[in-house]
Symmetry: C4
Subunit: 96 residues, 4 copies
Amino acid sequence: ATGKCRSTLEGHSSHVRAVSFSPDGQLVASASSDKSVRLWEAATGTCRRTMEGHSSHALPATTVAFSPDGQLVASASSDKSVRLWEAKRCEVKRRR
Amino acid sequence: ATGKCRSTLEGHSSHVRAVSFSPDGQLVASASSDKSVRLWEAATGTCRRTMEGHSSHALPATTVAFSPDGQLVASASSDKSVRLWEAKRCEVKRRR
Amino acid sequence: ATGKCRSTLEGHSSHVRAVSFSPDGQLVASASSDKSVRLWEAATGTCRRTMEGHSSHALPATTVAFSPDGQLVASASSDKSVRLWEAKRCEVKRRR
Amino acid sequence: ATGKCRSTLEGHSSHVRAVSFSPDGQLVASASSDKSVRLWEAATGTCRRTMEGHSSHALPATTVAFSPDGQLVASASSDKSVRLWEAKRCEVKRRR
């Protein structure tokens, strides 16, 4: 059988290198070679946040991870840094 | 000691780049360079779904993830998109 | 401060590409470019199982994952297959 | 909307290849091409431990993982070994 695609999350301008669900399943974080991390609503496929700052995203893999409480997203980069982003704030706004 | 291979999941036509268990352990999702994501029954090794749509799967790694409730599978691709696939539907059919 | 290395798990004959803890924390699975998956005791660093069968392990990343109940280990390979290995059996023997 | 960067974890001298939260969310482990693994406080972004010993970190991906109880960090390397590091000890010191 062929599986159904529920939504296609488009917006990154280059390769998507990693993807992770938030612990509550409401958000999807993606890390791209376009140097940004994006947060998307899983239910609708809408992009809620674009987080920029890394100067490089040349490396592949699990370079994006939610904290267990879903409040932070960590991203690793070939710019030698790890960045912690506020994801909770994003979720709060979503419910308004 | 030598470990025992329970099953070999064959069907992808190119490299398998990522693998993930569903939260209930009944399904295994795999992402391949053949641009498809497949869902397999862990108990039998049978392929239940082939999910196509990505135009590229050139990047390695954790580009496949189940949502915490097991209903969705997210896959990331070098085609610049993330896709969300319905996995739950697959599980329902399995039980008939 | 400098962190302490508790144990070094040696035995693979090539690059180690992925590592994962079992859900109960007692085992560590590793996937290597030597085409094998190994299971190690976390407490002692002893290798309990070497699981061979993949004809290639050229790809990086999270190509090794425990099932939620800890009974299976899934490994993905550039030989186009996913393999499921019995890890539970290993744990049972450990307790004798 | 644009997401807010809470902290930038700087200290690695080369690419950061993997990142993982501890199960309690208080620590972030990072693995870098500089051959070290670092443990950071998620709340403050302070580096608590630098763990060295691997002779190579050329491979990408999820080469860093916390044990389920948060006491150990496993790192995989192209030096053919897996290393287990004591993370618990780190957390104890943090609370003094």
